[in-house]
């Protein structure tokens, strides 16, 4: 077992992990943060997306030890007043959520995009979400929600 220190949703944690524990196992199975989903465990679906130092990563592809000393943000991180919150509201209002299994990953990928490039064009939005598979929606309403969140970001700020 190895000891790592990391920040998860703003709180500092010391964790004992085995060398082959994935970040997804640490988050879901050990920390019980089940908002992060396991859709494939192979890096193909994006349901496990979390932010590592602000960058979206597939938690199933990362070893927990690689997060040592880093900041991890999962869907559970409280978000009042943030871009993430605006996006979550927009997803609800735009009818972008169906079964919802892809949604936490999409929220985090899109949040990273809005933070980095608030003015991202539609093709850039599509590209930023290319690793997040959704089987229910056909993505149109999701793209509309990201654009609505962009719009609100502009008028608010």
């Amino acid at each position: 077992m190895l000891t790592i220190q990391l920040t998860i949703n703003g709180a500092a944690h010391r964790c004992e992990v085995s060398p082959n524990t994935t970040l997804l196992e640490l988050i879901r199975d050990d920390m019980h943060l089940t908002g992060t989903k396991r859709g494939c465990d192979q890096g193909h679906c994006g349901a496990c997306t979390v932010l590592l130092d602000g960058m979206p990563v597939n938690a199933c592809l990362m070893l927990a030890v690689m997060a040592d000393g880093k900041q991890v943000e999962t869907i559970e991180a409280a978000a009042p007043g943030t871009k993430k919150h605006a996006l979550q509201q927009a997803l609800i209002e735009e009818g972008a959520v169906q079964c919802g299994f892809c949604i936490p990953g999409i929220v985090l990928s899109a949040t990273a995009l809005l933070e980095e490039r608030p003015q991202a064009s539609r093709p850039e939005i599509r590209e930023a979400l290319s690793g997040n598979l959704c089987r229910c929606t056909g993505y149109s309403r999701i793209i509309a929600a990201v654009e609505k969140a962009q719009e609100r970001g502009r008028t608010n700020g």
């Binding site: 989903k37 465990d41 192979q42 169906q98 936490p104 997040n132 089987r135 929606t137």
Partner: protein, 753 residues
């Protein structure tokens, strides 16, 4: 437009908040006290006999509780598809068979204290097999007879021949034959199958929590398997991360319950993606042949269809699958004479089963391709050709004799081609292609028809119960299984509209076999049409009771009391629902509650026409969808935004089925089992889809609504296929039209006709 408060408007779905914040729990996220974990071992040979299983090394691992397999688990057989007690199906399957029949068949499961320990023990189980010859496609099975002893009754199951109508005079007609094919497809719900089974040895109570589409069907299958009394077998539906049919058959639940009964503790199983692809169900690989006689004016007089459904390793429901293809022939078009023959063939492949628009998408792939060929042969426009053969208002479904009611496929085609700019786009594509560049463009139309209920093919009925609380809010007890497309919210809307109260005063639960009234399950496109009708009728009954109660309280005649704007009006006095509930409680000593049962007695035609405009890259074989319109004859839309989104999702799915999605075997008989190789549309590739409705009050359903979820997939692959063929001036109908297949066609000098 009507002045409905909710119907036809857009309301966010009831659990959207929990989904965007990650707080909502799916079965895989749930934890029960003392819960154990399962990992499933599936076999990696396509056909064989399990000779021995050695578990010592697995059992020695820390945290492992036990290993279940074919030598220590019930040999009782079941059918994964059974969804009602007494359903006539062949039971061929065991939880852990001694004879394994495909790569992915269940061999054993490890029960452990943690998911890590369960997974770690899997490679320590030693299984010795005797290998048997195998075949992974129907043609080989039929021709070689290699699987003749796979089951007591062989591997080939013919459907009864259907002959409908009298063969008319065929003088002057042209005969044409075409074929079409779908490779095996995977549902790819983002949530893999998962469930928790619990058993209390003291009380004998068994409970299963799973994202399933039929708590009652599942309850009886499980109880029969383990010889439990039905009243001690409870199934609770959990939040479902997508289904598309894949959660109406029972693969995970029997394993989990076997382990719970064995240990007397709750046990959770979560399928891996590989297991979700190989060891659940898939859309069958399909082959169809269609032969017609058509008049020079384009009227099809005689139709002969032959199909082969590759059932996979267990027959399960594939004979029904095969018969259902013929049930949809008269839902969109009508022909004087039809003959239909089909067979389901077992192979050493993943098991075929329910899949959004099961049987119907296969039929219309065949028919639409054939119609494109006929139109071309006769020099007619593809949309005009269809208009000559469609069903009309008031026609009957010739197979069942039941009225198609206000079926409006004609409006869909005519209004659709107008909105889409069909003729202009067709002309522009011709001009574009005349430049002989790298890219070629084309347009295609796909049509289809579906049902709204099992009626009259088999029994279809259901029930709802409603109760008014002391504060006037309403509790609705009905066996809903929301797949994630907003069923609960649609029901809240319909009930709130009927009761004239705000939507947040209506609570609609989901199915729990020990609590909610009996229902068949949420499939066969029956949820909104049948259960929605029941809910609305039940709400009307509740209104009558509210009126009668206030009439008593007020001392007036019931005829003088009415409900309006959420108030009960008696003369110039206003009462609330709360007043009625409290009067009933304290004075009448009754709960304000009604129960309503209903048997479905109609099944109008529900149709759609889709239009696609594509561009084919002749260098790469890739197809881009430039424009897409989905036009639907829906009766009445309940929740507009989410219905549009559901159709957009169907188009993305259907585009994948048309162009890339396929499960094929490798040389060891293992089918495609990862999302790296099974390519569904991602965000940059998904088409922009315009959705339009033909709305007209239909009969039978709630507020005139008809079905949509399954139907919306039916026209997609035909529309895309038609557009690709238009672009390439080809007759490709072996789907999906992968870049490889398109390039091969082009390399052969474009010869395919």
């Amino acid at each position: 437009m009507s002045d409905y408060k909710y119907i036809g408007r857009s309301v966010p779905i009831h659990d959207a908040q929990g989904k965007v914040t990650g707080s909502l729990r799916y079965a895989g996220d749930m934890v029960l006290p003392g819960m154990l974990h399962l990992a499933l071992l599936t076999c990696d040979i396509p056909h064989g006999i399990v000779k021995s299983i050695r578990t010592e090394r697995a059992l020695a691992l820390d945290g492992v509780v036990d290993v279940l397999h074919c030598f220590n688990t019930t040999k009782e057989r079941f059918n994964r598809y059974r969804n009602i007690h007494g359903q006539k199906l062949i039971n061929q399957e065991e939880i852990f068979p001694e004879r394994v029949r495909f790569v992915g068949d269940r061999v054993a499961c490890v029960i452990a204290e943690t998911p890590q320990a369960a997974r770690a023990a899997l490679p320590l189980i030693e299984v010795e097999y005797e290998r048997l010859p195998y075949a992974t496609d129907a043609k080989t099975v039929i021709e070689s007879g290699v699987l003749d002893d796979m089951f007591e009754d062989g591997a080939v199951y013919p459907a009864p021949e259907l002959i409908n109508g009298e063969q008319p005079d065929l003088t002057g007609t042209t005969i044409t034959q075409t074929q079409a094919h779908f490779d095996r497809q995977s549902h790819v719900t983002m949530e893999p199958q998962a469930c928790i089974a619990d058993y209390d040895p003291l009380t004998g109570q068994a409970t299963v929590y799973s994202p399933n589409q039929s708590v009652n069907g599942l309850r009886t299958v499980l109880a029969d398997l383990f010889d439990l009394p039905y009243h001690k077998m409870r199934v609770v539906k959990t939040t479902m991360g997508g289904s598309f049919g894949s959660k109406q058959e029972w693969m995970a639940e029997p394993v989990a319950l076997a382990a719970a009964l064995h240990t007397g503790r709750p046990v959770k199983i979560v399928f891996t993606r590989e297991q979700a692809m190989l060891s659940t169900i898939t859309r069958a690989a399909f082959d169809g042949k269609m032969t017609t006689h058509v008049t020079p004016e384009g009227k099809v007089l005689s139709v002969d269809i032959e199909t082969v459904i590759d059932a996979g390793a267990y027959l399960s429901n594939s004979l029904d699958y095969c018969i259902v293809v013929s049930s949809k022939i008269f839902r969109c078009y009508t022909f004087p004479y039809v003959r239909y023959n089909g067979k389901a063939v077992c192979t050493n492949s993943p098991v075929s089963g329910a899949f959004r628009s099961w049987g119907t998408a296969e039929l219309y792939l065949l028919v639409e391709h054939h119609f494109n060929e006929l139109a071309r042969k006769l020099g007619m426009d593809a949309t005009d050709f269809r208009l000559k053969n469609i069903v009309k208002l008031g026609d009957v479904d010739k197979k069942t004799g039941v009225s198609l009611g206000d079926v409006r496929i004609g409006d869909c085609i005519k209004q659709g081609r107008e909105k889409f700019g069909w003729f202009a786009k067709r002309q522009a594509a011709e001009a574009f292609n005349a430049q002989n560049g790298r890219f070629l463009r084309g347009v295609g139309i796909g049509c289809g028809g579906h049902g709204n209920t099992y009626f009259p093919r088999r029994e279809d009925f259901g029930a709802a119960q409603m109760r008014v609380s002391e504060d006037g809010t309403v509790l609705v007890n009905i066996s809903l299984h929301d797949h994630g497309c907003g069923t609960v919210t649609a029901f809240q809307m319909m009930i709130a509209e009927t009761l004239t109260i705000p939507i947040d005063q209506v609570a609609v639960g989901e199915a729990d076999s020990s609590v909610t009234p009996f229902d068949l399950g949420c499939f066969a496109s029956r949820t909104t049409y049948v259960l929605g009708r029941i809910a609305v009728d039940c709400a009307e009954k509740l209104k009558d009771l509210l009126v009668a109660t206030i009439a008593k309280a007020d001392g007036s005649e019931p005829e003088a009391v009415k409900i309006q704007g959420g108030q009960i009006l008696a003369g110039d006095k206003h009462y609330s629902f709360a007043d009625a509930a409290q009067y009933a409680l304290h004075t009448l000593q009754q709960e304000l509650t009604v129960m309503h049962q209903f048997v479905a007695d109609s099944n109008p035609g529900v149709t759609g026409a889709h239009f696609a405009h594509v561009e084919v890259d002749t260098k790469t074989g890739m197809v881009a969808v430039l424009d897409y319109l989905a036009m639907h004859d829906i009766g009445k839309v309940i929740n507009r935004e989410i219905t549009v989104a559901q159709i957009q999702g169907a188009v993305a799915m259907g585009t994948g089925c048309a162009l890339t999605e396929r499960m094929t075997p490798n040389k060891n008989g293992r089918f495609t089992s990862s999302l790296k190789d099974y390519h569904l549309r991602n965000c940059p590739e998904a088409p922009d889809v315009e959705v339009e409705f033909v709305e007209a009050d239909s009969i039978g359903g709630p507020f005139g609504a008809k079905s949509i979820g399954e139907l919306s997939l039916v026209p997609v692959a035909p529309a895309i296929m038609g557009a690709v063929n238009d672009a390439l001036d080809a007759s490709l109908s072996y789907l999906p039209l992968t870049p490889d297949r398109i390039l091969k066609h082009l390399a052969n000098g474009g010869e395919s006709r």
